[in-house]
């Protein structure tokens, strides 16, 4: 059965939108061809989660917003993401579909670093964007949602780090869906050239509890030979936003891609995080923590696929489920033929706080090579009564003991986030969601 989905946006609209943004010709073509494909391609089929009735098509596509002159003007719930102690030099704040604030350290600029919103990047660095945009990592025709993304992309970031440039300070982006019906169809493109390194952290936030919209986010991280990319995120869309998020990395020889994802959406969410270890001795560490509450349905896939020899992949997924929430955690370690001496490890754990909640951890190892090592650990269960007993035997109340155990359980991602404010903010979100 194919599901009838009539798109609210047609060829004329897409053409006009592209022209209005003064996009290069290749982008307009890509959009139009993607639009056509989106009509015939099927929705993705995440394991054990039926998304056929989810809202991926009803939203407002283009909501422009005022710029802000200084960070002081930000509402407190956005300011919370910023380190007060030190001025964040490298920061882009996207408000609905336009940039409200953008700054980058002049020193980095002089070194050739590009950190700008995707619309500006398309105008000013068209060739560079074209080279990587939905080429090496995510493809337009994977399914309806990737095609829809390509057709209607309306925001995002381009971060380009030239060869041998090491960026010490973290680069931060905040995506603020202020309008309750605005749809963030964001494209994040991070390219780290040979032997460069960068730490990037992003936040998604919205406050639409009732109003319905949808986010369709594609992230591509390209780490060239010897490059290192640390990617951190806290996703916190409100219940009204249905989310599809696809974060994908391509790691070449001796490169490293690290993911630390705090997936804290309140609405239904499909999340894919796939890393291709193309080059020999490439390495990826993919960590996700998630919380489900209410009647939220979520599906998380973390996949590291090994092509290069001696490549090393480690997946960690920790989920906390309460109320009537359900979530599936798929962990996939895949070693292709020829990727000898590779190592694929994964750990998926789900902590159930309610008997009405549902959580599945599906560890999958797909190995097509003899000379490799691999391992997995998976568990679904309640808070360990013996751990509780131990903490309580020191006078700590049951409530506080559980709190410590849950925060500890979600710590692997919190610990790794680079900006103190973002770390703190994730801890607050965890606190709010669990209690």
């Amino acid at each position: 059965m194919t599901v009838e989905v009539s798109l609210p946006y047609d060829k004329e609209y897409v053409t006009q939108f592209s022209q209005g943004q003064q996009e290069p010709e290749w982008m307009k073509k890509l959009r139009l061809s993607a639009l056509e494909k989106s009509e015939s391609l099927p929705l993705p089929k995440p394991d054990k989660t039926n998304i056929s009735k989810w809202n991926f098509t009803e939203f407002d596509h283009h909501v422009t917003s005022d710029r802000i002159e200084s960070l002081e003007e930000l509402p407190v719930e956005i300011k919370d993401f910023l380190d007060e102690e030190k001025e964040q030099q490298n920061l882009v704040i996207q408000r609905n579909h336009t940039v409200a604030y953008g700054s980058i350290d002049q020193k980095l600029k002089d070194q050739g670093v590009i950190f700008t919103d995707i619309a500006t990047a398309l105008r000013e660095h068209s060739d560079l964007v074209e080279k990587y945009y939905m080429n090496d990592a995510v493809h337009v025709d994977e399914h309806r949602l990737t095609a829809l993304h390509a057709a209607l992309m309306n925001g995002g970031i381009f971060l380009y780090v030239p060869k041998n440039v090491q960026i010490e300070e973290p680069i931060q982006a905040i995506f603020w869906q202020e309008d309750p019906k605005a749809s963030l169809i964001n494209h994040i493109l991070v390219v780290a050239e040979e032997n460069s390194s960068v730490t990037y952290v992003e936040n998604y936030i919205s406050h639409n509890k009732e109003e319905k919209t949808s986010a369709n986010i594609v992230t591509e991280v390209i780490a060239k030979d010897g490059a290192k990319v640390s990617f951190g995120a806290v996703d916190n869309f409100e219940a009204g936003t249905t989310v599809y998020t696809n974060r994908r990395g391509v790691a070449y020889r001796d490169s490293v891609i690290e993911w630390a994802l705090g997936q804290m959406n309140e609405g239904n969410t499909v999340s894919e995080n796939i890393t291709h270890l193309i080059g020999d001795n490439s390495h990826s560490n993919a960590k996700t923590v998630a919380i489900g509450r209410g009647s939220q349905k979520q599906n998380f896939t973390a996949n590291i696929t090994h092509f290069g020899k001696g490549s090393d992949g480690y997946i960690l997924q920790h989920g906390v489920m309460k109320d009537k929430a359900s979530a599936i955690f798929n962990g996939i370690g895949k070693i292709e033929h020829g990727a000898s001496k590779s190592n694929a490890e994964q750990e998926s754990r789900v902590l159930m706080l309610s008997s009405d909640a549902r959580g599945d951890a599906n560890p999958i190892l797909l190995i097509d090579e003899d000379d490799v090592t691999a391992g997995h650990a998976a568990s679904v269960g309640r808070v360990d009564p013996v751990q509780l007993y131990y903490l309580m035997s020191r006078g700590i109340s049951k409530f506080e003991a559980e709190r410590l155990i849950i925060h500890g359980f979600l710590a692997p991602v919190v610990k790794q986030l680079p900006v103190e404010a973002v770390k703190r903010q994730l801890q607050q979100v965890i606190e709010r969601k669990v209690y």
């Binding site: 013996v386 007993y389 131990y390 035997s393 006078g395 700590i396 410590l404 925060h407 500890g408």
Partner: protein, 259 residues
């Protein structure tokens, strides 16, 4: 301060339907150090766990009173707040929670709201106690017991004891798995606690810990009961002659319960 009194009266305890303790009687006063010895599987650790309220153990009969209050009716955290402490044989590992965060929560749990220990004082206290126990300072920032060696876990239990300063402490085989140097260090820490108010029940399989911590009273447990009590000379005789003479004296058949 006169200290607290822990009274254990006719305590019967089961695990999964099997009776392990068959009527234990013991009284520990503040200022006293008691040792409980006995062969493996006679219920020594069960006694410790049941007093603290381990979820696996069911008290079927008897009482445990702390200064006249019925401990068995209290939640585990209430028992601790009332002044009990158990240094465990197998402390839990808790990932993601640093030793120092945990300790601070534990100390504050013993204090009134609004009277929390200051961070400075806490760090100072912890540093000095870690010095006494010859612990690596970075253990404060490691996750609670995660990846700790057996010896590190034991020291960490004693660190908690020294930080929390309970009225009555039970040490469950705190010497197992320690080499002689570590044993001396741990004993130092425990001896530092000695004062008129602090009462301690030391559960051990071996006499050697008692070479460093001199007990006021020694009790021997067999088959789920305290079968003999005496002074420090009793533990020395046990070390020299083993347990057989007691069995003969009391006409105990050689069978132990599984625990």
């Amino acid at each position: 301060m006169a200290g607290s009194t822990l009274e254990i009266k006719d305590l019967h305890v089961e695990i999964e339907g099997q009776e392990i303790l068959k009527g234990v009687n013991l009284t520990i006063n503040g200022g006293e150090f008691h040792a409980v010895m006995g062969p493996n599987g006679t219920g020594k650790s069960t006694l410790a766990s049941a007093i603290m309220g381990h979820p696996k153990y069911e008290v079927t009969k008897g009482e445990v009173l702390l200064d006249g209050e019925n401990v068995l009716e209290m939640e585990v955290d209430e028992r601790a707040q009332a002044g009990l402490f158990l240094a465990m044989q197998y402390p839990s590992e808790i990932s993601g929670v640093t030793n120092s965060d945990f300790l601070r929560s534990a100390i504050n749990a013993h204090r009134e709201e609004g009277d929390e220990i200051s961070l400075m004082k806490f760090i100072k206290d912890m540093d000095s106690k870690m010095d006494t126990l010859e612990m690596d300072k970075n253990m404060a920032q490691r996750y609670l017991n995660e990846g700790f060696s057996g010896g590190e876990k034991k020291r960490n239990e004693i660190l908690q004891l020294m930080m929390i300063q309970p009225a009555i402490a039970i040490l469950d085989e705190i010497d197992s798995g320690l080499d002689i140097d570590a044993l001396k260090v741990v004993a130092n820490g425990i001896n530092e606690m000695r004062n008129d108010a602090f009462g301690c029940l030391i559960i051990t399989h071996y006499q050697r810990l008692l070479n460093y911590i001199t007990p006021d009273k020694v009790h021997v447990m067999m088959q789920g009961r305290v079968v003999k009590s005496g002074g420090p000379e009793l533990s020395q005789r046990l070390e020299a002659e083993g347990y057989d003479w007691i069995k003969q004296e009391l006409g105990i058949e050689d069978e132990t319960v599984n625990a």
